[in-house]
Every structure is written in structure tokens, then in C-alpha cells.
Point group: C2
Chain length 405, copies 2
């Protein structure tokens, strides 16, 4: 009955801790405080006045800075506002209302649209699909990315499959980095739908936790080599590089897709916030500047990931499994009766992303995955939260008949 006693003590402490969202901590945001005083000059590299209207595609110097980091040629990048999520959402809106290159019709005219959703995955991707009535089919993730046998079969068989969500590097929430073989198969696979697209949300492209950055194969280039140039939509942002709410976002794709995208966004806006783009160019300078800045992030959040691993190891042993990612923002905890664990934690003042949120329709059929977001709290609060979470895991194991350790 140790776990019950520990849980009663935990509840008595009246904690109020939040591990729900992958938010940078205030100290991480402090790293970019110079941005608040920039730009020193409102002139773009080509001499234009960054303060006025125009330049729908975004400043060349910013596109060139991020081109190697997100594996898209600068001329095939469009710079968006503060949210890559908006670029993803709006890409689907555009596809619903204006035919994609290669499409037979607008998606809104299709009897059914299906997206493949590698699980566990990112809840905000699933929310976009739900909004538009896009059917979601889960695909299991393994250590190399989504199970490509399943993906290849589904895209070949079913012409309603128009998309797949991928977070290919330090995946949300599993931390998996797609293997070269996975990327090659994604680039090459035959699809029944002529307008099938891979939504390549490279949210953690430069977000390494170790000195050995993961390498990701270049899906856009490989797809073009295999005759599938228009297959890939790349997304990225500086939300977790500079300021979470005030960064810049990127859309990258084939020339035909970029033309289609700009044709649509030209009806929506006269141009992006180029002053914020200049601010980012002055602050980050070049790829080396980005790498140095990301090392400072890693110094702040690396110890948080280590702490979670240490506490879970000490408290749970083999009662659960969890990931030890080399980058990104999440640890994925796999545990029986996840929903019960999350409920117990909530009752003890520890907020976790709802169990099931990592799966389409909030339905984790095995009820196993809990997403832990360790970046926002400072170390002492994080330790309390993970310690408390471990108590909840042990309590549920005990109540469900498995002895706590």
C-alpha cells in the first residue's frame, strides 16, 4: 500500500504544475531578448523598405538563411507569420477550395479525404483534420518512423488517401528520427491519389539536445529524383528558436506547389511582416548563429530531459517505458491505463496532456501513451511533477493488481 500512502501525501501537497504543452521556458525566451530592440535597419538586402507592403514570398536573406536548415532551396521557400500551424491549416484550406497541382478536383468536391496519422502524433494536426471532416487513419510508429509497409499499402490502395502527417525529426511526442530508408520509401512509393501530399512538419529541425545532431534525409530532393516533385510540403518555424509567439514560419515545396500556394495567399494578404523577418536575420545572422543559439537552448533544457529520465528510472524501473530523445520537446511515457494515470495526476494538481491526445479522435486504443512536456517548468517544479506522476503510475499499477516496486 506504499503507493496509496504516497498518493495521499501527494494530494495533500496541493501542487499546481503543468506539463501539458511544449512551451519554451522564460529563461529560453530570454535568450532572444535582443530581438525586442531590433531591427537596426528597416532596409532589406535588396534595398527595399521593409516597413511597407509587399513581398509575399518573404525576404530573400531570411529564406537563404533557413534554406540549408530546412532542406529547401531558398527560391522554393515562402515565409509566413508567427505560426507554421497556420501555414499547414491554410494549405489544407487552399487544397479544399482550389485544386492542387495534379489534382482532379478541389478536395471539397471529393466524396472522402483520408489522412494517415503516424501515432503517437501531434494533436494539433489531428484537430485540423477533424475541423474539415478529413478521415484519419492511424499508422503505428516504430524506431525508424511510421511503419512503411502499412503506409505504402494504404497510399497505393486507397485514392482517398491524400495526405500523411509527419514530424520527421525528434518526432512529437516519440522523439523518433525518420531513418534514411523511411524517407526514401516516402519519396518513392506509388500512390493511388495523383494529389497525395506529405505534410513534413520539420518543427524540430535544429532542436538538438546532444552534440550529435540527427541527420535527416532530404525528402524534397529525393521525391523530385523519383519523379514525385510535387509530393512534399515542408513546414518549419522559429517558434522554439526565438520567441514562441513572435517568430517566423516557413513553407517549402516544389516550384509548382509554391506557385499554387502564392497564387492562393496573394488573395489573402499583401505581404508578410518583413520587419520581423529583418529582426530575425539581424539576430540569427547565419546557420552558425542558429546552431550557437540552439546550443544555448540545449544547455537550458537538456538537464530537464535528463532529470525526467533519472526520476522515472528511480521511481518506475520496469513498470513503464519511456523515450530518451536526442532533440525536440517531448518525452513519451508508455504505461498501462494511461487515462487513469492522467486523471490521478490531475486530481493531485499535475496537469498532463489528456491521455489519447496523441492519437486521432483522442482515441489511444491501447490506452498507453502519455506525452510529457518538460521544457517549461524549472528543475525543482519539474522534479516534483515527475515524482508525482510516478506516484500515480505506481498507484494505478497497484490498484490494477500489479504490485508497485
Amino acid at each position: 500500500m506504499t503507493a496509496q500512502r504516497d498518493y495521499a501525501a501527494l494530494v495533500q501537497r496541493g501542487l499546481s504544475l503543468d506539463l501539458t504543452r511544449g512551451k519554451p521556458s522564460p529563461r529560453q525566451l530570454d535568450l532572444s531578448d535582443d530581438l525586442l530592440k531590433l531591427p537596426a535597419s528597416y532596409r532589406a538586402a535588396d534595398g527595399t523598405d521593409g516597413r511597407n507592403y509587399g513581398n509575399l514570398q518573404g525576404l530573400a536573406e531570411l529564406r537563404e538563411l533557413f534554406a540549408p536548415l530546412i532542406q529547401v532551396p531558398a527560391e522554393q521557400i515562402v515565409v509566413g507569420g508567427n505560426a507554421s500551424l497556420a501555414l499547414m491549416h491554410d494549405t489544407i484550406v487552399h487544397a479544399l477550395l482550389t485544386p492542387l497541382p495534379g489534382a482532379e478536383r478541389r478536395w471539397v468536391e471529393e466524396p472522402e479525404i483520408t489522412f494517415l496519422c503516424p501515432v503517437p502524433g501531434y494533436d494539433r494536426h489531428f484537430t485540423i483534420c477533424e475541423r474539415f471532416g478529413i478521415k484519419m487513419v492511424p499508422v503505428p510508429m516504430n524506431a525508424e518512423g511510421p511503419d512503411m509497409d502499412v503506409v505504402e499499402r494504404l497510399v497505393a490502395e486507397d485514392a482517398s488517401v491524400k495526405g500523411i502527417w509527419c514530424v520527421p525529426k525528434y518526432s512529437n511526442p516519440s522523439g523518433v528520427v525518420y531513418s534514411d530508408e523511411t524517407v526514401r520509401r516516402l519519396a518513392a512509393m506509388p500512390t493511388a491519389a495523383p494529389d497525395f501530399r506529405i505534410f513534413w512538419d520539420n518543427a524540430y529541425a535544429v532542436h538538438h539536445l546532444t552534440d550529435e545532431p540527427a541527420e535527416l534525409a532530404d525528402l524534397l530532393a529525393l521525391s523530385a529524383e523519383r519523379g514525385n516533385a510535387d509530393r512534399v510540403f515542408v513546414y518549419a518555424s522559429t517558434s522554439k528558436v526565438t520567441l514562441a509567439g513572435s517568430g517566423v514560419s516557413f513553407f517549402g515545396s516544389s516550384p509548382a506547389n509554391v506557385k499554387w500556394f502564392l497564387h492562393n495567399t496573394s488573395k489573402q494578404s499583401i505581404g508578410p511582416d518583413k520587419i520581423n523577418q529583418l529582426r530575425h536575420v539581424e539576430f540569427l545572422r547565419d546557420a552558425k548563429g542558429v546552431a550557437a543559439h540552439m546550443r544555448r537552448h540545449a544547455e537550458l533544457i537538456g538537464p530537464k530531459f535528463e532529470l525526467v529520465d533519472k526520476v522515472l528510472t528511480e521511481r518506475l524501473g520496469d513498470l513503464a517505458t519511456w523515450t530518451s530523445p536526442k532533440g525536440g520537446y517531448f518525452i513519451s511515457l508508455e504505461v498501462p491505463h494511461a487515462a487513469e494515470v492522467v486523471a490521478k495526476a490531475k486530481a493531485a494538481g499535475i496537469a498532463l496532456t489528456p491521455a489519447g491526445a496523441t492519437h486521432p479522435y483522442g482515441d489511444d486504443p491501447d490506452d498507453r501513451t502519455i506525452r510529457i512536456a518538460p521544457t517549461y517548468p524549472e528543475l525543482d517544479e519539474l522534479e516534483q511533477a515527475i515524482d508525482g506522476l510516478a506516484v500515480c503510475v505506481r498507484l494505478v499499477a497497484e490498484e490494477r493488481g500489479r504490485p508497485s516496486l
Copy 2:
């Protein structure tokens, strides 16, 4: 043959002048250069960290600052990105894909959607309609706004009429301010469509050229009084207050519409750029600050409007008519054979918005309206351009058989 000789001389000068778009001049943008060094603090008034994710509706202090200026209660305002055009575009996207309050179905399921377009009007409004296959019906403007007899008849008769575009103050391009009677009739009129909406693009709410600011009746309040609370979508922005490319935008409406709007945008974004919102609050401070700032704009552009009026009076007399607006960004020149005049001007190096752009489908049936945007060029260039334009008007009049003056 004076006009022909003058035109030949004009062409010989090899001008390259641009009167196409309503852009602020660099000197106007200079008025807001302090913005580039702000905000001094990243803390919102409620203590939250403006650098992080969140606050989809936008900071309360910014909503409160603009509430009286755009005639929307602060709690019914949503702050958007740098472009109110995107808010308008996205409102229509949302209505196409998610039923509006009071709607029987999503607009994409309607056999036909019609928008009334007071003419002359703003070409970017018409472009949004064209993109989505929304049928546009022109309605003539008079000195008090759109011809309300026509509007009332069309909205009462035809349930496919779901919207009307209005620029109610210093209208683009006529400069007309909607009269109280027009606003009252818009608020009260019965409509066949239960989900009819007025797109109230109050782009020039505070953009006065004289010391006698035009007053506009409060459409949102009047509509609520008349039982049509959900009828109105208000839009505004600081694009022509602070920086054209880096301002903030506003959506305002009834509580039910705001809830619907936020429900939809919550799938699109985790929140707006709150640092830019703080920047604007620190810079503009309050309604008095906005008024003082707008007077500085008027000092810069007022003389440009006066110059156009002076040159046209001297050169054209009664060969044409034009507006003398008390605010906004445009002068509307009415002249026979407008398309020919624009073509002649273009051949002489004077770029004007294409004739017809002020009408749906680019079709000005009387071929009369030329939109002049006098704000961007400095006075000497503006004088050359208007002088040249007058030469073109006289040439066309001469060629078409009406003696030049």
C-alpha cells in the same frame, strides 16, 4: 492639337511614376520608427509573458485602445496579424467550411453565393469573391453610401445574397462617408438569407485629412438594437497608422460571431504575435495618441490631396469630375474613356490602377472611374504624374471629338 503636342512632350520625358496602390510614403513610415525599438517590456498588462504562445483573442489593452476607434466593445474584438485583408479572406473561408451562426449550412454547400459590391469599390475585396466563385452584383454608390433602395430590394428578394462589402468611412476610392440614414437602413433591413453579413471594412476609421473628423454611425450597435446582432463583421488595421507591412489588424462582431470566429481560428493558430501588440500599445498609448499620430500623417499627405485637386482644376476644368475626400487614401477621377486614358498614361510612364479595377470582374460598364493614389510619391513627382494624367485626359477628349480646354 495642343493635347497631342503636350502628350508627345510627356512621352519624351520618359517618366516612371506609380499611382497604383494606396501605400504610405517613406516619410509617413518614419513617423513610426520608434516601433523598431519597442517593446520596452514583454509583459502584458495582466502580467503574462507576451513572448510565449497563447492568447488567441489578443491583448486586452490593445483591444481596449482600439474599441472606441472602431466602435466595437473590447471583449468583442479579435486582434489578428499584419493584414485585415487576411481576416476578411479567412472569415469567408470559415463561412465556406463551417456554418455561420444562423446559417442553414456551410456556404460551400450553397448552390450560389452572391455579394453586393458598392461601386466604385476596393479591388482586393472583389478578388476574394472571385477566388471562391462568389457572384458579385454591383450597387451604385451615391453621396451617402450605396444606393439603399437597391440594397434593400436585393437582400430582401434573393436568399443567395450573403454579403455586402462596405468601406464606410472615406470609402475606397470615392471618399464617401456613409450617412447615418444609410447605416440605419443597413442595420434594420430585412434579408432573405438568415446568414447575411455586412463586411464593414473600416480601413480608414481614424484617417482624417481635415480637422473635422467624419462621424460614422455605429452599425454594430444599431444592428443589435434592431434584432440583427449577428449581421456585422467589422475590420480595421494599423497598416496605414503605423507600418504598412507590420501593423496589427482587428476583427469585431457580435458575441456569437466572435465565438464562431475564435472556434475556427483556434484550429489555425496557437495565438497572435503579442510582442507586436505590446509594441503598438507602448507606441500609440491611447486614443489621444492615435489621434495625434494621425494628425502627423495628415500633415504629410494633406498637401498631396490638395495638389491633385489644384492640378486637376487647372488642367481639366469641367472635362472631368473628381472627389475631394476629407480622409482616406484615394481620389476618384471620373472621366470618359477611362481605359484609354490609363493606357495613354502607362505609355507615358505613369502607372495607374487598371481602369475597371474599381468594379467587380474589372468591368466598369461606363468606363469612367480612375483611382488615384496620391500618398506614396513626394510632391514633385506627384505633380508631374497628375500633370501627365491631365494631358492624357485632354488627349483622349480631343481624339474622341471633345475639344480640349
